[in-house]
C-alpha cells in the first residue's frame, strides 16, 4: 500500500492536490464555529449553489480560468444575501432560497443549451460533487488557491478577537462602537472565498459539510472558543488528508470520501461526549 502511495506521489498533480486540499480544509474550518453560531449556515449553503451557477456561466463563456469569474460573482451574492438577511428573518431566508435554487436551475439550463462538452452529465456531476476536479488543477489555479487560503488564514488570525466578539454578542459590540456591519461583511466575503476554493475540493453540494462538520465535532468536546477553533482546524485537515489518501488508493470520489470522514469523526466525538457526561 505504501509503495502504491509512493508511486502516486511521484505525480505532480497528486502532490498539488494534497497541498491545496490541506490548505482549503484548513481555512474552511476556521469560520465554521462563527457560521454555526451566527446562524449564517443558510448563507453558506445558498452561496455554494450560486457558485455552481457562476461556474456554469464561466463554462459557457469558455473562460480559461473560471475562478476569476466565479469568485467575484459569489462575493457579490454574499454581500447581497447579507443585506437581504438584515430585514425580517423570513425575507432573508426566502431570498437565499430564491437565489440558490434559481442559480442551480439556470446553471443547468445554460449548460444544456450552450455547452460544447461531449460529456455534459459528467461535467455537472464533477461540479456538484467535485469527483475529480482536485486532481485536474492547473499550476496557476494551484497557486491562486494557495495564495487565497493563506490570505484567509492571515485575515482570520488578525481579526480573531473581533470575530469572537461579534459572534458572541452583536449588540454589545455595536454599543461599544465596534463596526459590526463591517465585520459581518468581512465574514461574508471570506465565506464566499472559502466556498469557491472548497468547490475545487468537494464540489458545490458538499461544501457546507466541509465547513460545518469539523466545528460541530469540536463543539462536542471543547469548552473555549480558541480550543474549538484549533480543534476544528486540526480535524478538518486530518479528515481532508485522510479522505484524499483513501480516495487515491481506493479510487473513491474525493469529495464524498472527505465528507464521510468528517461525519465519522462527528459521530465519534458525539459518542465520547455522551460517555463523559
Amino acid at each position: 500500500m505504501i509503495s502504491t502511495l509512493q508511486q502516486y506521489l511521484q505525480f505532480p498533480f497528486v502532490r498539488y492536490a494534497l497541498i491545496v486540499g490541506t490548505l482549503i480544509a484548513l481555512c474552511s474550518s476556521l469560520l465554521g464555529v462563527t457560521l454555526v453560531l451566527k446562524h449564517f449556515s443558510f448563507i453558506g449553503d445558498g452561496l455554494s449553489h450560486v457558485a455552481f451557477g457562476a461556474m456554469t456561466v464561466a463554462a459557457v463563456l469558455q473562460l480559461s480560468n473560471d475562478m476569476l469569474f466565479v469568485m467575484p460573482a459569489t462575493i457579490l451574492c454574499a454581500v447581497l444575501l447579507l443585506k437581504a438577511g438584515k430585514g425580517a428573518r423570513i425575507q432573508g431566508d426566502a431570498a437565499v432560497a430564491m437565489i440558490s435554487v434559481g442559480a442551480l436551475a439556470i446553471g443547468y439550463l445554460l449548460l444544456n443549451l450552450f455547452s460544447t462538452s461531449s460529456n455534459l452529465s459528467g461535467d455537472v456531476c464533477s461540479t456538484l460533487f467535485g469527483s475529480t476536479s482536485i486532481l485536474t488543477l492547473t499550476k496557476e489555479v494551484v497557486w491562486l488557491c494557495a495564495a487565497l487560503s493563506v490570505a484567509v488564514v492571515v485575515l482570520f488570525v488578525l481579526f480573531y478577537n473581533k470575530i469572537f466578539a461579534v459572534t458572541f454578542d452583536e449588540d454589545f459590540s455595536r454599543a461599544v462602537g465596534t463596526n459590526v456591519e463591517g465585520y459581518n461583511l468581512l465574514i461574508a466575503v471570506v465565506i464566499a472565498v472559502i466556498i469557491v476554493l472548497a468547490m475545487n475540493l468537494v464540489g458545490s453540494l458538499l461544501i457546507s459539510a466541509l465547513i460545518i462538520f469539523p466545528a460541530l465535532s469540536a463543539m462536542r468536546l471543547f469548552k473555549s472558543f480558541k480550543q474549538v477553533t484549533l480543534c476544528s482546524a486540526v480535524l478538518s485537515v486530518a479528515c481532508a488528508l485522510g479522505g484524499m489518501l483513501i480516495s487515491i488508493l481506493a479510487g473513491t470520489p474525493v469529495g464524498s470520501t472527505i465528507v464521510a470522514m468528517d461525519i465519522a469523526v462527528f459521530l465519534l466525538f458525539s459518542l465520547i461526549a455522551r460517555f463523559r457526561a
Binding site: V33, A165, F172
Partner: protein, 236 residues
C-alpha cells in the same frame, strides 16, 4: 455636567410612535431605574441611548468626557449565548474590544483590567470554566464584568435579574449597589418596583404618562403611589 442628557426624545419604529417628548438626564453618581409596563418602550429607550437605534426626533447628548464607546452594557441574554463554547476569560476579555479597536490583539493592560473586573465580580476562580455550564447568576456576573471592562463611568443594565431566584437576585442587586457606591452611574431597566425604590436615586416611569424625578418625589407622586400600591397588591 450630566453624563447623558435626553432632550425632547421621541422613540418608535417608522410611523409607530411609542414614546414622545422625553426629557431626562443622568449625572455622575446617579442610579436611575426605568420602570413601566411591558411594551412601554423601556428596551427601545435603552437601545437608543446606546446608539443601536436612531430616535424619531430629539437628541441624546453625552457629557462629562463620556464617549459613546465608554458605556458598559449588560444586554438580555440571547439564545445563541446559552450554547456558546467560550470560557469566562474569553468573554470578559471581549469587553476590552473598544480599547483595542485599532489593534488586532489585546495588550497586557487590557488583561490586567480583565483580572481586576473578574475579582470585582467574584468570578476569578471561574476563568477557565465554560460559559454555558454556569448558573444564571454566574452568567450575569460574567456579562457584568465584561461591561465593566468597557466603562468606568456608566453602566446600562437591561433587566439584570430576569430568571434569577430570589437569593441570587438579592446578591445581584447588592453587587450593582456596590458598583454604584464605587462611583459608577447606573441606568437599569427593572420589573421589580420595590427593589428599584430601595436602591435607585432616580426613577423614570414611562407609559401613558411619564414621570422623571428622585425616588422621594416618585413615592409622593400620584403615579408612583398608584404603581407602588399595585405592585404591593400583586406580591401579597
Amino acid at each position: 455636567m450630566a453624563l447623558i442628557t435626553c432632550r425632547s426624545l421621541s422613540l418608535g419604529y417608522e410611523s409607530h410612535v411609542i414614546l414622545e417628548n422625553l426629557n431626562f438626564c443622568v449625572n455622575p453618581g446617579d442610579y436611575l431605574c426605568i420602570v413601566g409596563e411591558n411594551g412601554s418602550g423601556k428596551s427601545t429607550l435603552m437601545r437608543t441611548m446606546l446608539g443601536l437605534q436612531k430616535p424619531l426626533s430629539g437628541e441624546i447628548v453625552l457629557g462629562d468626557g463620556l464617549r459613546e464607546s465608554e458605556i458598559g452594557y449588560l444586554p438580555q441574554q440571547t439564545a445563541v449565548q446559552r450554547d456558546f463554547p467560550a470560557t469566562v476569560w474569553e468573554i470578559v476579555l471581549s469587553g476590552c474590544q473598544s480599547r483595542a479597536a485599532k489593534r488586532p490583539f489585546y495588550r497586557r493592560s487590557d488583561k490586567a483590567l480583565v483580572e481586576e473586573n473578574m475579582r470585582r465580580m467574584g468570578i476569578e476562580h471561574f476563568r477557565k470554566r465554560c460559559y454555558r455550564e454556569l448558573s444564571g447568576g454566574q452568567q450575569q456576573r460574567v456579562l457584568l464584568a465584561r461591561a465593566l471592562c468597557a466603562t468606568r463611568k456608566l453602566l446600562l443594565l437591561d433587566e439584570p435579574v430576569t430568571g434569577l431566584d430570589p437569593k441570587v437576585t438579592a446578591e445581584m442587586y447588592a453587587l450593582i449597589a456596590n458598583l454604584h457606591r464605587e462611583g459608577v452611574a447606573v441606568i437599569m431597566i427593572a420589573h421589580d418596583i420595590a427593589a428599584s425604590v430601595r436602591y435607585a436615586t432616580h426613577i423614570l416611569h414611562i407609559g401613558a404618562s411619564v414621570f422623571y424625578g428622585t425616588v422621594g418625589e416618585y413615592q409622593n407622586s400620584a403615579m408612583g403611589r398608584k404603581f407602588l400600591s399595585l405592585e404591593g397588591g400583586d406580591a401579597a
